[in-house]
Symmetry: C2
Subunit: 367 residues, 2 copies
């Protein structure tokens, strides 16, 4: 057997020293860095004078959502009715489903049940189904397409949809947008943030001219949150900032010392020159592969050690020229996209001060 193991090539923050008694693969969150990330975004949005409504699809955790509200968040953003149900049950009473929810018979019944317990609003981006939403009595936010060209309407179309909502008897709270095109690369972030502000400004201006009131003007993802906290924007919805990930590192949004979560893995095989195999594959690291990034994850401290291929339970890692870890060693892997990784695990292993502090359930996993 080839055991090329050596020492780490470069020093890393102590939290990437995997606590050895963890069963791998595991999703580890560093409590101290998590709290710093939560506080830092709360402080920055407060300083900008806008509301923070963090997106809970990143963590799906009522424990982490509680920390966010304690730091000053006004409520939660969620992506699905399933997430809304889980967070409503956990006591969160102000939820925005930032998604064009289709009012199927089942969705209408679920929205109705939710609206009796909590304040719930949903997104709309077409006049199909408006009357069914009106029957439930929820308020809506109109989704604007600011450049990702996925969902949402062009800002110039907002009055038409606003009037359609009015005719259907639907209360419009305002508008929201998501600059998913910021993920194209570091050079795209500032432009995408401006796109958010411009789309929101155009829509708010048009609605107000038409005599339609706008209470909420919502934008902001982790890359753009602080850049788009300006003009008429009065709410931000970042999600990933609580943990950060390899994509945020590549976008220049943060440095490694802001990464608060990783996947702990064990080296299980090392028979092929130039590579070794860890027990974290696509069922632990997720298959997200933005063009911006080589491979599926990186190993802090092991220079050039990138997860170059994923099978379901095997991650193939490029071995550093100066030596990699040994078979049986545990390593920390920073995944490309933490949101889809969290959705693979039933629990977080929580570490504080370098010690195991317990586990938290991924409360809304799979919802």
């Amino acid at each position: 057997v080839r055991l090329t193991g050596g020492d780490r090539n470069t020093p890393v923050p102590a939290r990437f020293e995997v606590v050895p008694q963890i069963d791998t693969p595991a999703l580890v969150v560093d409590l101290d860095q998590l709290q710093r990330n939560i506080d830092s975004m709360a402080d920055a949005t407060r300083a900008a004078g806008i509301a923070l409504r963090p997106h809970a699809k990143t963590h799906k955790s009522s424990d982490i959502a509680r920390l966010q509200l304690a730091a000053g968040a006004v409520g939660l953003t969620v992506a699905t009715l399933g997430e809304a149900e889980i967070f409503a049950k956990a006591g969160f009473d102000d939820l925005f489903v930032a998604y064009p929810v289709w009012p199927s018979r089942s969705a209408v019944a679920r929205l109705h049940a939710l609206s009796e317990r909590v304040r719930i609003r949903v997104g709309v981006d077409s006049d199909a189904g408006l009357s069914k939403l009106a029957d439930v009595g929820v308020a809506v936010l109109i989704e604007l397409d600011c450049g990702q060209h996925r969902s949402g309407i062009p800002p110039h179309d907002v009055v038409r949809l606003g009037r359609a909502c009015e005719r259907a008897g639907l209360e419009v709270s305002g508008v929201f947008t998501h600059a998913g095109h910021s993920y194209a690369g570091p050079e795209a972030v500032a432009r995408a943030a401006r796109d958010e502000v411009e789309a929101v400004a155009a829509a708010v201006c048009a609605l107000e001219r038409a005599g339609l009131e706008v209470t909420v003007a919502s934008a902001g993802s982790t890359p753009t949150a602080l850049l788009s906290a300006t003009g008429p924007v009065n709410e931000s919805r970042p999600g990933t900032y609580v943990f950060n990930d390899r994509q945020q590192l590549a976008l220049g949004v943060c440095e490694l010392d802001r990464v608060a979560a990783y996947v702990a893995a064990t080296v299980v095989s090392n028979n092929v020159d130039g590579r070794f195999v860890i027990d974290a594959g696509s069922k632990a690291l997720a298959g997200d592969h933005p063009p911006l990034l080589e491979g599926f994850g990186s190993l802090p401290g092991w220079d050039d050690a990138v997860v170059t291929a994923l099978s379901e339970h095997h991650g193939t890692v490029r071995e550093p020229a100066s030596g990699g870890p040994r078979v049986g060693d545990t390593v920390a892997v920073v995944p490309n996209h933490i949101c889809t990784v969290v959705n693979l695990f039933d629990r977080f292993v929580v570490v504080g001060g370098g010690e195991l502090a317990g586990t938290w359930p991924v409360t809304a996993r799979g919802r």
Copy 2:
């Protein structure tokens, strides 16, 4: 709003007509086709005179595993100790962990507990940790690298590792290999199957010459199972065949009428020319993206409708030139890789004879 909805472009098997009362996104399995797939592989391996030990990582379902054993499977293959524990608890008493399990303190304790209840064997591919496995008393199979160059040892090295097992007091049941390189494309499948047979034959011959007994000579994935059921190979471990998926279609392993599972989704947005958006994103379709395939899924019956981009909760689909479905319509999506999709859902929605027949839990999800 643009409603370009039209009729399906081409007819498809009736099971791809989504039962309308399903909450989407949902993982749907067609019971009739599932049973046909299970029977067909069982019949084929029986006819070839080899044992079938299907890989349960595909379905992670004790319900489906029971159908496989009822059709003649000799036991189950699993990928992790977590899966082994779930299937042992569900009453399956002959399990092979086809993975180089690292004998950490926790893994040793878990293996020990398993070995007291069921017959359990694991893979090895290095002499690191052999003595700890020997302490547990489990038997092992030596993993051979037949060309994927991931885990496993070259066949010419098998006697050395066999002797090391012997010295450590470990019982070697035989050898196993996995031709993951068959997934490169349809032209790679037959060659990869030959690689399996050649690697197994070389290893079995070398071990027997050295006086080491070989009971199990195991190969076979869904693409190669029937092609490698020859020579000294006496056991096959296919997994995906129960459902099939878009990757198997692209490899030429099956036709659409053998696909027994899909993701049911709802069209939620259609504001951008040439595309529409469904409520199945990377948290429902998984991010697997083999170079062989364009995009992340296809919609049977809607010509050219490929899921070209995934966000977490949005799938962006190319709209057929002749018209796509309407906002609010439900569609069936055949995902690239069903194994990682199953691992995202807590339950299968089971359909039989075009009617909802209930749900099955994904018993070992996340293990």
